[in-house]
């Protein structure tokens, strides 16, 4: 945290420069106050990033959703928000019949999706109609506080690039705080640990340096305790769907490092 940043509570006076008031603030009597409990930055724009809070969808957000219901012409999608997402049949990449909807996406399936529109009544319309979007069929999904997403990505994607490099995983961070990881188990374990560390410590100065140290320490750790390994293998086996077979996986591994995620996110490390 630089000098111009500090922890503020709701109602705290921030500045007289009304024109610079941005998110997390409100203006009253020509003064700018904080509207949330979070970290204020006064440079350029006056804004307060909350330390917690729910995800509120906005058009253009790339998020990860989980199908909760298949209705006549919509998939209803949980997007970790007070509002449910609606994916209309016409927003599926190809033309499909109403009766076939659950063949393509069914309850419990995860999708990488784009918020197409949000109306004033908070009806959230999603789309899959984009090269970059797809159903998530492999890897892991973890949840973090949505307001920590910018820190996880870092300035110009520096933090996420470091994570990908160090763990050899592909990581997609949804704006709603859901994160999709793919890669080897060991790498994913480390990435998950790192992500939760960032979530926990994002408000403390010197995060980048601490993460560099974290990865250094992780690499020099003695080869992990066998006990733990067994437990994890079991756990994974249970959750693994039967249809995922070894060969498919290999193909996936090979094309991954330059693969879909990088291409979609456009950050070739």
């Amino acid at each position: 945290m630089e000098m111009d940043k500090k922890l503020v509570t709701p109602g705290e006076f921030l500045s007289d420069e009304v024109a610079l008031a941005d998110e997390g603030t409100y203006v009253e009597d020509g003064k700018v106050f904080s509207s949330v409990f979070g970290i204020a930055s006064l440079k350029n724009h006056i804004r307060v990033v909350p330390l917690s809070g729910k995800y509120i969808p906005r058009p253009g957000d790339m998020i990860i959703g989980i199908v909760t219901e298949v209705s006549f012409s919509n998939w209803i999608v949980d997007i970790r928000s007070p509002y449910e997402g609606l994916l209309h049949i016409s927003e599926f990449p190809r033309r499909i019949e109403n009766t076939d909807m659950s063949k393509y996406l069914t309850v419990g399936d995860s999708i990488m999706t784009l918020v197409r529109d949000v109306d004033p009544k908070m009806k959230v319309e999603l789309t899959l109609n984009d090269q970059r979007l797809r159903q998530i069929k492999e890897g892991r999904i973890i949840d973090v506080t949505p307001s920590k997403v910018p820190r996880l990505i870092g300035r110009n994607g520096s933090m996420i690039a470091m994570l990908k490099n160090e763990t050899n995983c592909n990581i997609f961070v949804g704006q709603n705080g859901r994160i999709w990881l793919t890669g080897k188990d060991k790498g994913m374990d480390m990435a998950v640990k790192a992500i939760f560390k960032i979530e926990r410590e994002s408000h403390i100065p010197g995060l980048t340096d601490r993460m560099i140290k974290f990865f250094k320490d992780e690499k020099h750790k003695p080869i992990k305790e066998p006990e733990k390994e067994i437990v994890e293998t079991e756990e994974v086996k249970i959750e693994e769907p039967a249809e995922v077979e070894k060969p498919a996986e290999d193909v996936f591994e090979e094309e991954k490092p330059g693969g879909i995620l990088d291409e979609l996110l456009g950050d070739n490390k």
């Binding site: 922890l7 109602g11 809070g53 009544k121 908070m122 410590e201 408000h203």
Partner: protein
């Protein structure tokens, strides 16, 4: 307990406080993992816990408002919170306290940011010792901030009253039971009153003076509320949570299971 002969002796109250002194306060923020925001609040002999959920979907649906969030506040006293066992469940008194406490917080919450949603506040009184509604409001306002809900400011609350013809701040049990007046007040730090009730009698001048006393009391509480919130994030350095929130489940969807 029967009525003490004197509630104030030589300007000192039964519990040793001066008339304008608050009882000791202890605050801990983020005590519940499940809730979006939470707070444990001790106000003298009062022990309350507040939990905030939301904004979230409204159930039952008919309660939802299409242009703003609904705020729901449930004040509840544990059956063991008072000497004589309290019959559990909502009663006339707790319904009233819930209503006025909700109305004490609603003016500061930016409800219009979250149409069609609900913000649920739960306040459980674990131990009661006069002034539970003010303790509940203090706790709830911290829990709201902890949940990341946008607000104009925090709300602080305390009571003033009259015992032995003297105005006193923050009444204790005996003063509440045997005093001449009890007036709980909630306000924002800039002095906007969001709750004011009165039980008993005060003259016009006493009312004015009492209000000023409450204002000072609320400001002191407000400082403590702020400190408690900031403390949550200064004592959290590199401390892996042993029982992570239930929702933070890591799920595996196929992929390479065994190396």
């Amino acid at each position: 307990m029967s009525k003490p002969e004197k509630l104030i002796e030589n300007g000192i109250r039964l519990d040793g406080r001066k008339p304008d002194e608050l009882r000791p306060i202890k605050i801990k923020v983020g005590v519940l993992n499940r809730a979006d925001g939470s707070c444990y609040f001790e106000f003298g002999g009062n022990k309350v816990i507040a939990a905030v959920y939301g904004p979230r979907e409204v159930h039952p649906r008919h309660q939802q408002k299409s242009t703003s969030a609904v705020v729901r506040y449930r004040y509840n006293m544990a059956s063991f919170s008072v000497e004589e066992r309290k019959r559990p469940g909502p009663d006339r008194r707790s319904i009233e306290v819930s209503k006025v406490s909700r109305e004490a917080l609603e003016p500061v919450i930016f409800q219009e940011y979250f149409p069609r949603s609900a913000i649920d506040i739960f306040v459980e009184v674990l131990q009661a010792d006069a002034g539970t509604r003010t303790a509940g409001i203090n706790a709830a306002s911290i829990a709201l901030a902890d949940a990341g809900i946008p607000m104009k400011s925090l709300v602080s609350a305390c009571a003033v009253g009259k015992v032995d013809d003297t105005l006193v701040l923050d009444l204790n049990k005996d003063e509440d039971n045997y005093g001449q007046a009890d007036m709980p007040i909630a306000m924002t730090p800039d002095g906007k009153i969001t709750l004011l009730q009165m039980d008993g009698h005060l003259t016009r001048d006493e009312f004015k003076e009492g209000l000023e006393m409450a204002k000072i009391g609320c400001l002191a509480i407000h400082e403590m509320q702020k400190t408690a919130l900031i403390e949550k994030y200064s004592s959290q350095f590199d401390e892996p949570n042993d029982n992570p929130p239930f929702s933070t489940g890591s799920s595996q969807i196929g992929g390479d299971a065994v190396e």
